[in-house]
Symmetry: C2
Subunit: 104 residues, 2 copies
């Protein structure tokens, strides 16, 4: 009874299509991955596969680059968000361990 498989995060789009969708060159897209700003999966043959979420992320990166933000700064911003999420997860886990009841 779970709803849709969340199409937004399924990694199924090839770099050529992502290039069309974002307007970015394949070179840029690969470079942003090299800088750990985006994380596509790989097919058996080694082809990069992106999700719609990745496409959105890339458009956001493109906007920031236009504003002069460096990849390093974008990366730092990403790391900060990830640390926050980690903290939230920890807190939720703590609360659940202390007061959680419903096991299933």
């Amino acid at each position: 009874m779970d709803n849709e498989p969340s199409y937004k995060d399924k990694k199924v789009i090839s770099i050529g299509v992502v290039s069309e969708l974002t307007g970015l060159t394949e070179r840029k897209i690969r470079y942003y991955e090299e800088k750990n700003l985006i994380f596509p999966k790989r097919s058996k043959g080694g082809y990069r596969k992106y999700s719609f979420g990745d496409v959105e992320r890339l458009m956001d990166i493109a906007d920031q680059r236009e504003e002069g933000v460096t990849t390093k700064e974008i990366k730092q911003e990403l790391s900060k968000k990830e640390r926050k999420e980690q903290k939230q997860k920890m807190i939720r886990g703590q609360l659940n361990a202390q007061f959680g009841i419903q096991k299933k």
Copy 2:
């Protein structure tokens, strides 16, 4: 202020990925297209591009085929649905022409 671009209907998935997602061979997928049960778009180079909606449709077709339903019957069922939708559209248009007020 429009919501998401409806990822479900964007034709961005190559046949190889569709094959993995549905479990169908590429041969079958192409054959169902030949029988007009599915309608992928094409990239500049001529590669088929499918949407998540197409993937769902293919899984539905696969189920019907397993039950022994022929492609011809599946096609007829599809045509029937399309006629119904057409009729609904007509009615809505008629009602709008007669009583519709908000032009924009």
